[in-house]
Symmetry: C2
Amino acid sequence: MSQVTLMQIAEKLNISVSTVSKALKDYPDVSDKTKGLVKELAKTLNYQPNAFAVNLRTKESKTIGLIIPAIVHHFFSNVIKGILAQAEKKGYLVIILQSNESYELEKKQINLLLRQRVDGILISIANTTRNFTHLSDVITQGKPLVMFDKIAKILECSKVVIDDRKAAKDATQHLIDTGCKRIAHFRGPLLSQNSIDRFLGYKEALEENNFIYDSSLVYICECGDSSFEEGKFNAKKLLQDHKDVDGVFINTDLVAIGALTAFAEMGIKVPDDISIVGFSNWFMSSVISPSLTTINQPGFEMGKAAFKQLHKELKQRKKSKTVVYEKIILDTALVKRDSTK
Amino acid sequence: MSQVTLMQIAEKLNISVSTVSKALKDYPDVSDKTKGLVKELAKTLNYQPNAFAVNLRTKESKTIGLIIPAIVHHFFSNVIKGILAQAEKKGYLVIILQSNESYELEKKQINLLLRQRVDGILISIANTTRNFTHLSDVITQGKPLVMFDKIAKILECSKVVIDDRKAAKDATQHLIDTGCKRIAHFRGPLLSQNSIDRFLGYKEALEENNFIYDSSLVYICECGDSSFEEGKFNAKKLLQDHKDVDGVFINTDLVAIGALTAFAEMGIKVPDDISIVGFSNWFMSSVISPSLTTINQPGFEMGKAAFKQLHKELKQRKKSKTVVYEKIILDTALVKRDSTK
């Protein structure tokens, strides 16, 4: 049995689609007799109102869309948790889509969400997204859009971020403060804005402390996704290339744990031979041995803040108030553990 | 600017909604002049076809729904990866919803997906779901439904699972084979079918080896979600209650890693004092020290198989062939590492 449409009900009763629609919604300008006939047939045929119909009545779907690059990434898992916690409190359902770091998929997903008539969209963009027309279209259509973590700086909308540059500078400064003299950096994908900002923070800390910046000490994430294997691979390469390195600032904890594992396999002692600082403060970082010094990146709080901002804008629109875009910068903190001196 | 509907276009041009709909889809029974007017106005007003309209034309939305209890759980993360990999290959978008182990939320989400007119639904049910009417409704409406991992045994639909009981029996047998004499079990939530099956496998292994079953050796997950903290908590309790235990089979790796951490803190040597077998084969299990012996639960393959089955049923329906429900049981395997002798 396929799904029943308003048009099918209209044809069977030989009335117009809009009369069927109005009858189902108890409009006063439809007779009780017609209402009765329509409702009975709708029930018999097991008619399901579609999202559009729901929108017509309430002008809102109480559904929002969320697009993230990678669900399996522990940081985004925490963001999702934060968004869902807040959305449930306010009675919203969240449609989650994973762009898998693909610009093409992200575009399709934005279109899908617009077709599904969500009330608003939360997005952290893919590393490959360079053109933002699909996102400015959302804004032009008067649909609230809040970006978080991976944002497009030039787009005018609300944003929830951390100060990646400052956090990376703090991480590198800690390595310098604990006596490291030659500090490498495992950065993320070449084009990711967060990776660029963290790299700049690393460089800035070196320069402020009169260290000579050496580009051969910076290792790019070659496979595109920052993985455990990537950390192992780069750690081995680092030891081949530079025997004198005594500190590494690593873009994300998962990669750092990969590096820790490779160092252990090769008999390199952490922090005696090499100190490591990660980024994100994944709970596993406190569990492994040695535990990982890292930057706490507040994923749960970021998710909460992003939903709250979206909800605020939805209310502003509903009351026809001016929508005020905000840039919310959440605090990060250095968490000292056993992988640094 | 709010979203434009077919009805608004119809009113502005003083024609019927179905003429507008037909004009936008190039139906031959609408004049070129009308088509031109409708399309021009639709463009000017920035009209977005809704999901319903897309359905009318193609009879499919190329969108499927996925409901899972917890996205952050590493096993489900792998399932999602498998589903997305397969869905992308076939050109489907996946709407992901998290039930958060709540029956009420799960019901709402099923309704949302039906309203959004997805082509089919993949679901792993919440621990609290005891009534299955919302799911049998999906089947009655002729919408393909495939359950995976956490299934309702009585529902007639396709299912993708592992043999939890056999896998748990293998895990316990390994503890017995490596010399453990008194074996505890940390089981998951009381009402979860998977937890029940794993508990039964543990019990069966004991009985087959003439071990006396002692219910005080079975620890329930009291907080409801199998967490790292739960593992630590139960490990401490176990040591207080039973000084003679020399083996533990733990329902899931994350909890097992919590237990390993607690044992390390209390100076208990694994596997010399106590052997541990986990369940799921999370990649972290090979990384921690000592590495964890566990059951490999093929999440990625489960996701792939679930989508493939759904897709098969969609094709069967499209060709008006009889839909054949299948129960696919994926293999598990014991992965021996350093937490057992």
